[in-house]
């Protein structure tokens, strides 16, 4: 079995936003209204001379117990055997319950107006989306099926994003997760996320 997971190292993310751009082009997200499948938060943390910038990439956590799936009334949200949580835009009626249920703010609206804007932005011929829905990251499932990595991982200049299979013991991602260095976000919510973070806030030296 395969169980996909991502590890993001906050120590090496430089905040170049190349992942956002690569994802937007790959998945045709409505960037004109600042909505992305992955987003890098830029925040100042610390006080006095210890203030520093922290770049925090965020995306769908492809939870093993996804609350967005359990609240979806039409079955538009589904989970593959490899753990990837997908949205079928044809089934989605856009009630937004998934966005309310997601603790990771991974969902955003794609409206009829966005599809019209998308035709202009991405091109009439190239636009893949036909109907509105609540969209989110798919771990680039279409690329994985062709043996490629997700677009954000492929393009990451700081190698902050690592992608792997948790059922493969020799995979570096598995080892980082198993060692406890990489931790999930808000594990107490019981969502069992499959995106892990290597913290940058530990005191150094």
């Amino acid at each position: 079995m395969t169980r996909y997971a991502m590890v993001i190292d906050l120590n090496t993310c430089v905040g170049c936003n190349a992942c956002m751009a690569a994802c937007a082009m790959e998945n045709q997200t409505p960037v004109w209204k600042n909505k992305w499948r992955t987003y890098v938060h830029d925040k100042e943390i610390g006080v006095t001379d210890q203030v520093r910038r922290r770049f925090f990439p965020r995306l769908c956590n492809h939870c093993s117990n996804p609350p967005c799936l359990t609240v979806c009334p039409t079955g538009a949200t589904s989970q593959r055997a490899d753990g990837i949580v997908l949205v079928d835009p044809n089934l989605c009626m856009g009630c937004r319950a998934c966005a309310m249920a997601c603790p990771y703010d991974a969902r955003y609206e794609v409206t009829y107006a966005d599809i019209d804007a998308g035709r202009e932005f991405y091109g009439e011929e190239e636009l893949q989306r036909q109907s509105p829905s609540m969209d989110k990251c798919s771990f680039c499932a279409h690329r994985l099926d062709k043996g490629m990595k997700p677009a954000c991982v492929e393009t990451c200049v700081g190698s902050a994003r690592m992608f792997g299979d948790l059922d493969e013991p020799n995979d570096p991602v598995t080892q980082l997760v198993a060692s406890g260095i990489a931790q999930p976000l808000m594990p107490y919510l019981g969502t069992r996320p499959n995106v892990y973070y290597i913290d940058d806030t530990k005191r150094k030296g």
């Binding site: 938060h41 925040k43 100042e44 943390i45 610390g46 006080v47 922290r54 925090f56 965020r58 609350p67 359990t70 609240v71 979806c72 009334p73 039409t74 079955g75 538009a76 835009p89 044809n90 089934l91 989605c92 009626m93 856009g94 009630c95 937004r96 319950a97 966005a99 309310m100 249920a101 997601c102 603790p103 990771y104 703010d105 609206e109 794609v110 409206t111 009829y112 109907s131 509105p132 829905s133 609540m134 976000l185 808000m186 919510l189 019981g190 969502t191 806030t201």
Partner: protein
């Protein structure tokens, strides 16, 4: 400086509060009208007014939700009853079916009374439908199985009222919503507002001196439910004060908001409680205080859902 961020949401706002308010109110109104008709005494006017206004409220509730969907055609996927086998864990799927079948059984239960009401029979299209062979057959079936249909409607009504709370409870990131008190609070509020609505109905629109016993019973039930709601709200206050940052921030928003404190708790619950208490213990010389209290309870019912939706806080580590 803080590594966490705390935000409310702007996706489910006043319109979902309306959906929850009219859904709960309409369903509870139908259930109470039918239970009263089945077990107190047969009451044509109460059933007709209760059923028709209940169905209109459920219609408004559904229309508000439908109007805000992103992809209207895809709603067909949730109207099919088989959705309950495909998505048994999704409360919107259950709620849609409860509301749909509540409306169906509500109209079927009211049909025999509609046929014997001259003002209904005289209506242009409705009159012809009521005299038609199909409706006549339904009326005969309904007369034979009156209680069964009444209970089908009631079960769907209670299901709808409970659903409005379960829906909000299913969002795990927000402490104010994701706790066992929410379905209880919303169910009690749905029935409390429905009793208030029926008190207005029986005092203003269908006043009958012979209905004094039913009116008093509704006032008593309303009073008990307002008291229960106050107890549940106090436990919410206690719960949100500590335990999670999300809950604490929701408490800060709610308990510092004048609309919540004076509008909902003061005017929507405490004032009607004392007016109804006097009504039950000593009575009033006129109907005005009781009707005013009921109107305040109805206003409070909406405010509860409005502030609840706007005060859910997501705590995020970025």
């Amino acid at each position: 400086m803080d590594t966490m961020s705390y935000t409310t949401q702007d996706l489910w706002t006043w319109w979902i509060a309306l959906y929850l308010f009219f859904g709960g109110l309409g369903a509870a109104t139908l259930s109470i009208s039918f239970l009263s008709d089945m077990y107190c005494r047969p009451h044509r006017n109460l059933v007709l007014w209760g059923a028709l206004s209940g169905v209109v409220m459920l219609g408004i509730s559904s229309a508000v939700l439908f109007g805000h969907l992103l992809h209207h055609v895809a709603v067909i996927n949730v109207l099919n009853p088989l959705v309950l086998f495909r998505q048994p864990h999704a409360w919107i799927a259950w709620g849609t079916q409860f509301i749909l079948w509540m409306m169906v059984w509500g109209i079927v239960y009211a049909l025999p009374y509609m046929r014997e009401t001259p003002s209904c029979v005289k209506l242009p299209v409705v009159g012809r439908l009521l005299e038609g062979p199909f409706v006549s057959w339904i009326v005969r079936c309904c007369q034979k199985r009156r209680r069964a249909i009444g209970w089908l409607a009631t079960i769907n009504g209670i299901g709808t009222a409970v659903y409005t709370g379960l829906l909000i409870q299913s969002f795990p990131a927000v402490a104010l919503w994701h706790n066992p008190g929410v379905p209880l609070l919303f169910t009690v509020s749905a029935f409390s507002t429905a009793f208030a609505y029926l008190v207005v109905l029986m005092n203003v629109f269908i006043p009958d001196p012979n209905d004094t016993d039913i009116r008093h019973r509704f006032e008593r039930f309303g009073l008990i439910l307002i008291a229960t709601e106050l107890v549940i709200l106090f436990s919410f206050f206690n719960y949100t004060l500590s335990g999670s940052e999300s809950g604490y921030r929701s408490a800060q928003l709610l308990w510092h908001d004048k609309g919540w404190l004076f509008g909902f708790i003061g005017l929507g619950l405490v004032v009607p409680f004392f007016i109804d208490l006097k009504s039950v213990i000593r009575g009033w010389g006129t109907r005005l205080p009781t009707v005013s209290a009921a109107v305040l309870v109805l206003m409070g019912g909406y405010l509860l859902r409005h502030y609840f939706m706007y005060s859910g806080v997501y705590a995020r580590p970025w």
